[in-house]
């Protein structure tokens, strides 16, 4: 096949995969779908990525870029025979500007490794998805990933100052930069979160965040999930935005405790993990405020991490949630809707009702501070009919979030999973505008086709553009 031959001539046999088993591995992410690429390449330089793009164009094969494949929305799953460009080998830390608090990194660098590499400078990369030990910076850019610490620090887009990108034509462009307010339209901002549909990011200029001089981490137990949520609202109403506010419900606490042994309060109905950071006196004052707000809202126990080891253990418990679930069932479906913080309790109770109605084993862990819900349904796909129930329940959970003024995704992206819900959030004119933006980058739809926007998004006729024959 010309495609594989040309790619092998470019990259050698080791960095091109075309055996069915290997293709299968690269044909999916951590979601529930499975696709099949025609070939997979592992380029190591921007120039090689550009060459691969040109070869794919020559052979009329679409392109799916991917990182570690930890995404859950099917964003990295090819829907038709495509060339998968895996960027995991482009994992270098190119240079760090310790004065300006920035670094250029390869898209294949693991999120946690970046923070580890700059730890000696007293710096870290703020976005910290639960998958941070495996996910790549390029993948974080693709999905505009989040994590518990987005509450105060913002999601990935707030930490990406610039990008080097290979366009669908094989050109190399740099967008954004280290200086404030780079000139012109902020194309960087739309490439972040675009799931590889606008270009292939080959280098990333990240913002590095100074470590806080003091951190206080608290684990607070409640008899009801409503009390935990009221505490979150109460803390925000006190005029502080903590570094993180995470809630786990009892099924999740038990699963995690079984897995991590962090001495979690397994009899509590809900647990709030709260973290405040800052100057030592600020962190202490805010920790007192968090504790008193929790007590006023019915907290039954407040545990303050005594040292870094205990703090690390509590975070390990939180971030192991999804691993812990694997013990309970072979498959899981993880949701990612967002609702206004003030609607949390209301929406959660509806989600529990849906779970009960479908008789699903549901566990909850969520970024309560920013209203980002993660109901997790554990199941065994081999059980007859269960996948249909899981999918139907998922649809209902999405709809109750939207009815509460919420949105489809807080940090996982739209991919394939949420694509057909986009019409519930936006009208045809809104989707058409998004489709036009995409066409400006990729007129033929060759980059990660079928993702984000539902089929037919670019269908709205406007006299002005179409009558004059100027439609793209």
């Amino acid at each position: 096949m010309a495609l594989v031959d040309d790619l092998r001539a470019l990259l050698g046999d080791q960095r091109v995969k075309w055996e069915p088993l290997e293709l299968r591995i690269y044909g999916r992410d951590a979601g529930i779908g499975q696709g099949m690429p025609v070939a997979v390449v592992l380029p190591e330089t921007t120039a090689e990525v550009a060459e691969c793009v040109l070869i794919a164009r020559e052979c009329d094969v679409p392109i799916v870029a991917r990182g570690a494949g930890t995404g859950l929305a099917g964003g990295a799953m090819p829907t038709e025979p495509a060339l998968v460009i895996a960027l995991t080998r482009m994992d270098r830390l190119h240079n760090v500007d310790a004065e300006g608090l920035t670094a250029w990194v390869g898209p294949g660098m693991i999120n946690l490794e970046l923070s580890e590499k700059v730890a000696g400078l007293g710096l870290h990369f703020a976005p910290d998805p639960s998958s941070q030990a495996a996910c790549t910076i390029g993948g974080n850019v693709g999905t505009n990933a989040g994590g518990p610490h987005c509450l105060a620090d913002g999601t990935t887009v707030a930490h990406i100052l610039g990008l080097e990108m290979v366009t669908v034509d094989g050109d190399v462009l740099t967008l954004g930069g280290a200086a404030p307010d780079p000139l012109g339209l902020d194309l960087r901002a739309v490439v972040v979160g675009s799931e590889g549909t606008l270009g292939i990011v080959t280098r990333v200029l990240v913002k590095l965040t100074p470590d806080a001089p003091a951190v206080q981490t608290m684990l607070i137990a409640f008899d009801t999930i409503e009390d935990a949520a009221a505490t979150v609202s109460g803390i925000i109403a006190e005029g502080i935005v903590p570094a993180a506010l995470e809630i786990m419900d009892q099924p999740m606490v038990r699963a995690v405790e079984n897995f991590v042994k962090a001495d979690l309060p397994v009899h509590a109905a809900a647990v709030l993990l709260a973290e405040v950071t800052g100057h030592p006196s600020a962190a202490e004052a805010e920790a007192r405020l968090v504790a008193s707000t929790a007590t006023a809202n019915g907290a039954t126990h407040v545990r303050v991490a005594a040292d870094n080891a205990e703090r690390a253990l509590l975070w390990k418990a939180r971030k192991s949630a999804f691993g812990a679930v694997a013990q309970a069932a072979p498959d899981y479906y993880l949701h990612d809707t967002v609702v206004p913080r003030t609607r949390l309790v209301d929406v959660m109770s509806k989600i529990y009702e849906i779970g009960a109605r479908y008789n699903l084993h549901m566990l909850n862990v969520f970024h309560a501070g920013d209203g980002n819900l993660h109901p997790l349904v554990a199941f065994d796909a081999r059980d007859e009919g269960v996948l249909a129930d899981v999918t139907d329940a998922a649809r209902e959970m999405v709809l109750v979030s939207l009815e509460a003024g919420g949105s489809l995704s807080g940090e996982h992206g739209i991919g394939l999973e949420k694509r057909d819900f986009m019409g519930q959030v936006y009208g045809p004119v809104d989707l058409d505008a998004q489709a036009r933006l995409r066409q400006a980058f990729d007129p033929q739809g060759r980059l990660n086709p079928d993702k984000i926007l539902p089929a037919g998004s670019r269908c709205y006729d406007y006299g002005v553009t179409l009558d004059r024959g100027e439609a793209l």
């Binding site: 500007d97 310790a98 300006g100 608090l101 920035t102 989040g146 913002g154 999601t155 887009v157 707030a158 366009t167 740099t174 930069g177 280290a178 200086a179 404030p180 307010d181 780079p182 000139l183 012109g184 339209l185 902020d186 194309l187 901002a189 739309v190 979160g193 001089p213 109403a237 005029g239 800052g278 100057h279 030592p280 006196s281 600020a282 004052a285 967002v338 206004p340 913080r341 003030t342 920013d370 003024g405 919420g406 489809l408 995704s409 807080g410 940090e411 959030v425 936006y426 004119v429 809104d430 058409d432 505008a433 998004q434 036009r436 933006l437 400006a440 980058f441 002005v464 553009t465 100027e470």
Partner: protein, 373 residues
């Protein structure tokens, strides 16, 4: 649309000439975003260029727009929703920043818009991508535009983003439109993320900005002007006292923000944050220069009565060679002079395609941006 229909549409929106705006055939102030979109649609039909006008604060920036119509946002000026517990507010473009901030301050909140706005509007600040001094702590304005309604150059009303503090549903048009200087259309309404003001707001005068930067944690701003260096802090009283002690100085409560520059020439040097002091040294080498350096963010504002074009060109090429820019933000009326932006970005051809997706015939603030976008 016929000329008569256009006239009818315009008649309802027509307003007196706007002070400070260029002389044009029509001044309009639509009553709604839908009406603004209708006018833009017909302006596209007639290929009439439209210049958008908020408070006029940032109109000195960029290339002059050869406008046929000036469209003011002063009648699109409602506060649509404020959810203090969600830390969000939804406002129309014509709302004045000063009014919004004083409303939010009643509940101890802020939209972190420019601190000395004068008559500036929210829509104008978003269109110009204007950030206040507090971006050192809270990031640029762009990071707080959560939802945006745009009347596109060809008259569509497009909503993007959502009224949520965290959201990745579709392409991030709110951030794209922020700082787009009207090139995509009229920004009609935005939802902004809010922050608590903090229990106490203080300034701590210090000697050395670099020492201050490595000493304090999460200051609002570290600003150096002719008057000296001031570290601005917000937080609990305990925190402020402790941080001031670490700086070896005493806090002053409710300090003033630097006054806006009023010189005939105003420039902004933008460089990577680590080069702020190097940029400031260049500014200081010019006698009589007024300045405001935002340490840690890489931005130095400069005010001058007389501008040496040689100095500008040399400083601009230094800034550009370091990945930055030197932007002329205000110039004397009717002055000939240097390019306001300097070298356009390498992505200009792609930017043109993006603009065309919203404004296919190029009637929406045409030619204002770098490269004549």
């Amino acid at each position: 649309m016929s000329t008569r229909e256009l006239r009818t549409l315009l008649d309802d929106a027509i307003c007196p000439p706007i002070e400070g705006a260029p002389a044009v055939e029509h001044y309009v102030a639509p009553h709604s975003i839908d009406q603004a979109a209708g006018i833009l649609r017909s302006a596209t039909d007639h290929e009439s260029a439209v210049l958008f006008w908020g408070g006029g604060t940032n109109q000195g920036q960029g290339y002059p727009v050869p406008a046929d119509i000036v469209m003011s946002t002063h009648r699109i000026n409602s506060v649509v929703a404020w959810e203090p517990e969600d830390l969000t507010v939804v406002v129309e473009a014509g709302v004045k920043i000063a009014d919004l901030e004083s409303m939010l301050a009643e509940k101890g909140q802020t939209a972190v818009l420019p601190e000395t706005p004068g008559v500036a509007t929210v829509g104008g600040a978003v269109a110009a991508g204007a950030s206040g001094w507090r971006r050192l702590r809270y990031g640029p304005t762009r990071d707080r535009v959560l939802e945006l309604i745009l009347a596109t150059g060809d008259g569509r009303v497009v909503r993007s983003g959502g009224r949520l503090v965290k959201n990745v549903t579709g392409y991030d048009l709110p951030r794209l439109a922020t700082g787009s200087y009207g090139s995509l259309g009229l920004i009609g309404q935005v939802c902004l993320k809010l922050w608590p003001l903090g229990a106490r707001f203080s300034g701590v005068p210090v000697e050395d900005a670099a020492v201050a930067r490595s000493t304090v944690f999460r200051p609002l701003a570290i600003i150096e002007s002719e008057a000296g260096v001031m570290v601005y802090l917000a937080g609990t009283p305990e925190e402020i006292d402790a941080q001031a002690a670490a700086l070896g100085s005493s806090p002053v409560d409710t300090p003033r923000w630097p006054r806006p520059l009023v010189t005939p020439w105003q420039l902004t040097i933008r460089v990577p944050a680590g080069l702020t002091i190097a940029a400031l040294d260049r500014v200081r080498s010019v006698s009589g220069a007024r300045f405001r350096a935002a340490h840690g963010t890489g931005e130095v504002l400069m005010g001058l009565v007389d501008l040496s074009f040689d100095w500008l060109n040399e400083t601009r090429s230094w800034a550009e060679s370091n990945g930055g820019a030197l932007v002329v933000t205000q110039r004397p009326v009717a002055s000939e002079g240097p390019d306001p932006w300097g070298s356009p970005p390498a992505s200009l051809p792609l930017q043109e395609k993006v603009k065309a997706a919203f404004d296919p015939l190029g009637i929406s603030n045409p030619g204002r941006m770098p490269g004549g976008l």
